[in-house]
């Protein structure tokens, strides 16, 4: 969010709605209507004084109306833009021309009631729809007592109640009496998997978020008794099953498989009655009930569809297909996130990157034509080399700091510190005019180091460094003392102590600033070519997208044909012809002038770093070198080969993929078929592999329905643990039930058994409703075998990209960087990342293509200045640093007779593990040198603690 806010090429229009879109792909005109904020974003410093004085209380919508805010407010402290705004419906000044208190108290002068609503016309090449999801209607919640019983809350409300920055500061209380509840029930599938409210689909995210919320609640209140009522536990996300298992064990959550039809209140307790699948009824009393509310289509879905000219699906989500999940029915208009279908954060973020790739393909002709680039004057090297002349600026941050810390005393204290040539206090050092004033003072006084005592460098360092660059000073000559977030705000009742702490922090910052050196900000040229490993659906999609964005791509496939696992599919879950999708992809890849396909080939070795990789590819014994700037891992996975279940012993036992091939041949294969038994989770979810394979449940119902088409009187049994037909696949599950497919749940300690008989086979399974084991004679037993990882270990070692415990590649961050890996310039998609269906693999492939194209488009990679530097004269070549570096950013290079360590600056993240482990202290970290840190440690002591000691001189 912060990055989007800071990019000069992203314009954020808040309180804005789309009125019309005219034109066609590549050349649209969008009409946008924007409501005023009444607060100038550029001037607002987000100090919060306006909210303090605003006399108009309104419900705090961000906190689910559980708290009160003011007409002048910000939704949450990290909001972007970091600016307050005024609710025009509640504001006295806007409605009655009175009050005006905020304008009078805003010392930054940011309040502006002269702002008017605006209509604007934007020329754009493509449109991306990402309106998110809507709320399930109140009427649905009322069925479960919501609104009638105070202690029935939604999961949104519960989330706020357990949040440290929420209305109760994270103290879990029940609304009726503010008492801490002892016993809580979570009811799943509220507004999901429920045709009576029109939402037949599964919302995909509620099972996991309920477990998360329950876990958080248990962390707050360890004695809580929490029961969760599921129909099926759908934690199919990557690593989710493991997280669920841990939570169940660690927090002792009671998982109950039942749907609670309604809630009654008895005295101050909530009474729940339910029936489990063994036919028994139960009832119990709870203090609080949480409704795990599903994700609905956005409220204005129809309006969006009308304006954009796109179609919706039967549930009012955007209509897309599994082969092209990010494309709407209108060319040039794309969709990402929950509007495309209910989904979790990783999938939303992935789709968001994916649409960027598609837009980039469409708009490649115009690329760079409207980009804003910021230029800076040359650095004043002479000034930088002079004896340090430090300027210290102490920020009031309105009353945020000055209300607690004696800012003027801190400023005067700074004057007494060595090398401080200028000192001043500023009201809001981050405001536009203050930045200008700081720049001017730095120039006037020929300052060559700047210390700002204010908020956190995490949020504000880039802003101040930008100011330094704008006047020709190296941004590394800057240091902050955090006297707001880590001082004034947390010691509000101890002004003297806080002032002393501020002085200490300023002293430490100045001590470091004296030793700061300018750091080079080099860029590295990028070889504008991509290497894609794996020629399955994901690999081909990546290659096509990168090539369509205008870059040469080498596609390396291990086998002799393109297609990977897609070759084994006949239909997609949404009923499309998988073979046609395959044929189209292969044709496009083979015809593309920018794609070089290498079949029967494998990666043998690779060296280099982002922008400049050199890889050796072996093709049938011969090797070839390829230079490339980026690399995508799309090496896929494989169908798990079952052990047991008479697989391989009887021709009547098949896997789902084998069944699919038989179905493709038509009716003839099912002439004599009476009974078909499908067994779910063969090999998955703890039988052999730990993970859930995510797609087998949908695959099973899809194939069951196909058999029903070919042989309507066939009896089909699906033996399952949890049916995980998440998203719109739930429709298939319901259809299968309606068509008479029988579903029997089994537990892992009582798995079904396949028995070979003299004639045919039978399946023994424990029937929970009958309470006894039954035998089903079967003509066909179909094993839902799931996805096993490919042979990833070699590649993992070669690229230094770690694997998960389940053997799939590990992404850099599950939610924020789902298609990147720990090594820069290497990206990840498809089954190599984890089990998933075609729709998700395609989205992910597009996302990987978008990320991989960034260095290719820029042509240069900016190197972080905070990198390790190795003094070769001191280095003894022991290699400890290279072995410890988590980013593969240190290489051992032969120089003369000895090996020396060398930092690959483009890959270095500046963590400093190398520096702290070097036995001869040959490594120094830019901005965090030993000398600088020692200086801070010495300054920590009020008397300087032997400043200039041996350690510091070194």
């Amino acid at each position: 969010m912060v990055e989007a806010g800071r990019s000069p090429n992203i314009e954020i229009l808040t309180s804005a709605t789309l009125k019309s879109i005219k034109g066609r792909a590549g050349n649209f005109t969008a009409e946008v209507f924007q409501q005023p904020r009444y607060i100038n974003e550029d001037l607002c410093t987000a100090c919060g004084v306006c909210t303090m004085y605003c006399p108009r209380p309104i419900a705090d919508v961000y906190n689910e109306r559980l708290d009160i805010t003011r007409a002048t407010h910000i939704d949450f402290p990290q909001a972007i833009p970091t600016s307050y705004y005024i609710d025009p419906k509640a504001c006295l000044r806007v409605n009655y021309q009175t009050c005006n208190l905020c304008a009078q108290t805003c010392t930054a002068g940011a309040i502006d009631f002269s702002q008017k609503p605006k209509n604007m016309k934007l020329k754009v090449g493509s449109v991306i729809l990402a309106p998110g999801f809507g709320r399930v209607g109140h009427d649905v919640l009322e069925k479960f007592g919501y609104g009638r019983y105070q202690d029935v809350v939604t999961s949104y409300e519960f989330e706020r109640l357990t949040c440290a920055s929420g209305p109760t500061e994270g103290h879990l209380v029940r609304p009726s009496d503010q008492a801490t509840p002892k016993k809580i029930a979570f009811l799943q599938c509220i507004g999901s998997r429920d045709v009576t409210c029109g939402n037949g689909y599964c919302s995909s995210v509620c099972c996991m978020y309920a477990i998360k919320e329950a876990s958080v609640a248990k962390e707050h209140e360890p004695d809580l008794d929490i029961s969760l009522f599921f129909m099926d536990v759908r934690t199919q996300g990557k690593g989710f099953d493991a997280a669920r298992k841990r939570a169940e064990e660690k927090y002792g959550l009671n998982v109950i498989r039942a749907r609670v039809p309604k809630i009654d209140q008895i005295d101050s307790k909530l009474a729940l009655t339910w029936t489990t699948d063994d036919g028994e009824s139960h009832s119990d009393l709870f203090d609080m009930v949480v409704l795990s509310v599903g994700l609905d289509a956005p409220e204005d879905a129809h309006a969006i569809a009308d304006i954009a000219g796109i179609e919706l699906n039967s549930y009012d989500f955007c209509k897309t297909s599994h082969g092209a999940p990010l494309s709407t029915t209108k060319n040039g208009i794309y969709v990402a996130g929950a509007f495309q279908g209910p989904k979790d954060i990783p999938e939303s973020v992935t789709q968001a990157s994916g649409v960027a790739a598609i837009a980039s393909e469409l708009l490649k002709e115009g690329r760079g034509s409207q980009t804003i680039t910021v230029t800076y004057p040359d650095e004043d090297k002479a000034l930088e080399e002079e004896e340090p002349r430090i300027g210290v600026f102490v920020c009031h941050c309105g009353v945020n700091i000055a209300g607690v810390v004696d800012v003027k005393a801190v400023r005067d204290y700074a004057a007494s510190l060595p090398n401080v040539a200028y000192y001043e206090d500023t009201l809001y050092s981050c405001s536009q005019d203050a930045l200008k004033a700081i720049a001017q003072k730095v120039k006037e006084n020929r300052l060559n180091r700047v210390v700002i005592a204010a908020c956190s460098p995490r949020t504000h360092e880039p802003l101040f460094q930008e100011t330094l660059r704008s006047i020709g000073l190296n941004p590394a000559l800057f240091e902050m003392a955090n006297i707001r977030d880590q001082c004034a705000w947390v010691h509000a009742q101890e002004p003297e102590e806080a002032t002393q702490k501020s002085k200490d922090l300023v002293r430490m910052a100045v001590a470091k600033a004296r030793l700061l050196e300018p750091l080079a900000q080099p860029t590295v040229d990028v070889t504008q070519k991509a290497l894609v490993l794996g020629g399955g659906a994901a690999g081909m999609t990546v290659a096509l997208s990168i090539a369509d964005q205008g870059f040469e791509t080498v596609l390396v496939e291990k086998s002799k044909v393109l297609g990977g696992n897609l070759r084994k599919l006949t239909w997609t879950v949404d009923g499309q012809d998988a073979r046609k999708i395959l044929k189209d992809l292969v044709r496009k890849v083979e015809k593309h002038p920018k794609i070089d396909v290498m079949l029967d080939s494998e990666l043998e070795s690779t060296s280099g770093y982002v922008g400049n990789f050199t890889s050796t590819i072996s093709t049938g014994g011969k090797t070839e070198m390829v230079n490339h700037g980026v690399m995508v891992i799309a090496t896929g996975g494989k169908e798990y080969k079952p052990k047991g279940y008479c697989y391989g012993e009887s021709r009547q036992v098949l896997t789902q993929l084998e069944l699919e091939q038989r179905i493709a041949k038509g009716k003839s294969g099912f002439k004599t078929t009476k009974n078909v038994v499908m067994i779910q989770c063969v090999g998955s979810r703890g039988e052999d592999m730990e993970h859930c394979s995510r797609l087998c449940c949908s695959q099973a119902v899809k194939n069951a329905l196909k058999i029903k088409e070919l042989k309507p009187d066939a009896n089909i049994y699906i033996l399952y643990r949890d049916m995980r037909t998440y998203g719109f696949s739930e429709d298939l599950y319901r259809e299968a039930r309606q068509k008479g497919v029988r579903f029997l749940r089994y537990t892992p300690d009582n798995r079904p058994e396949v028995v070979k008989q003299a004639r045919g086979i039978k399946v023994n399974v424990y029937d929970r409703l009958l309470g006894e084991e039954i035998s089903i004679p079967a003509n066909l037993v179909v094993l839902s075998t799931g996805i096993a990882p490919g042979e990833n270990e070699n590649l993992s070692k070669l690229l230094k990209v770690p694997l998960t415990q389940d053997g799939f590649f590990l992404e850099a961050h599950a939610k924020l960087r789902p298609v990147e890996v720990a090594v820069d310039g290497v990206y990840l998609c498809g089954l190599a990342h984890g089990p998933k269906g075609l729709e998700e693999a395609v989205s992910q492939a597009k996302a990987a293509a978008a990320k991989a194209a960034i260095p290719l488009v820029k042509g240069k990679v900016a190197v972080e200045p905070i990198v390790s530097r190795i003094d070769k004269a001191t280095c003894i070549g022991c290699g400890i640093c290279a072995s410890l570096c988590p980013f593969n950013a240190i290489q051992m290079v032969k120089e003369g007779k000895r090996k020396k360590a060398e930092t690959i600056t483009a890959s270095c993240k500046g963590c400093g593990i190398c520096a702290s482990h070097c036995p001869v202290l040959a490594i120094s970290m830019g901005g965090f040198t030993d000398e600088e840190i020692f200086a801070q440690i010495h300054a920590f002591s009020p008397d300087g603690c032997g400043e200039g000691s041996e350690a510091e001189k070194k």
């Binding site: 995490r458 977030d485 102590e497 430490m508 593990i913 030993d930 603690c945």
Partner: protein
């Protein structure tokens, strides 16, 4: 502890990405804690050399807090 007259001086080494960020958000949430710690920000706790910790004690720290 402060009530008993013990007012320790603690030096903290906080990782930029996690502990330092957490200390910031404690501030945003206005959590109150004793003003005894002074923080040195590092880009990773892996940067912390054992010499830093020893030096901190030599410089009179009563405790060293590493957070990452």
């Amino acid at each position: 502890m402060t009530q008993e007259g013990y007012n320790p001086r603690i030096l903290g080494f906080f990782c930029h990405w996690c502990c330092y960020a957490a200390a910031d958000s404690a501030g945003v949430s206005r959590y109150q804690y004793p003003p005894n710690v002074r923080v040195i920000r590092v880009m990773c706790t892996g940067r912390i050399d054992v010499r830093f910790i020893l030096e901190a004690f030599r410089c009179g720290a009563d405790g060293v807090f590493t957070g990452g």
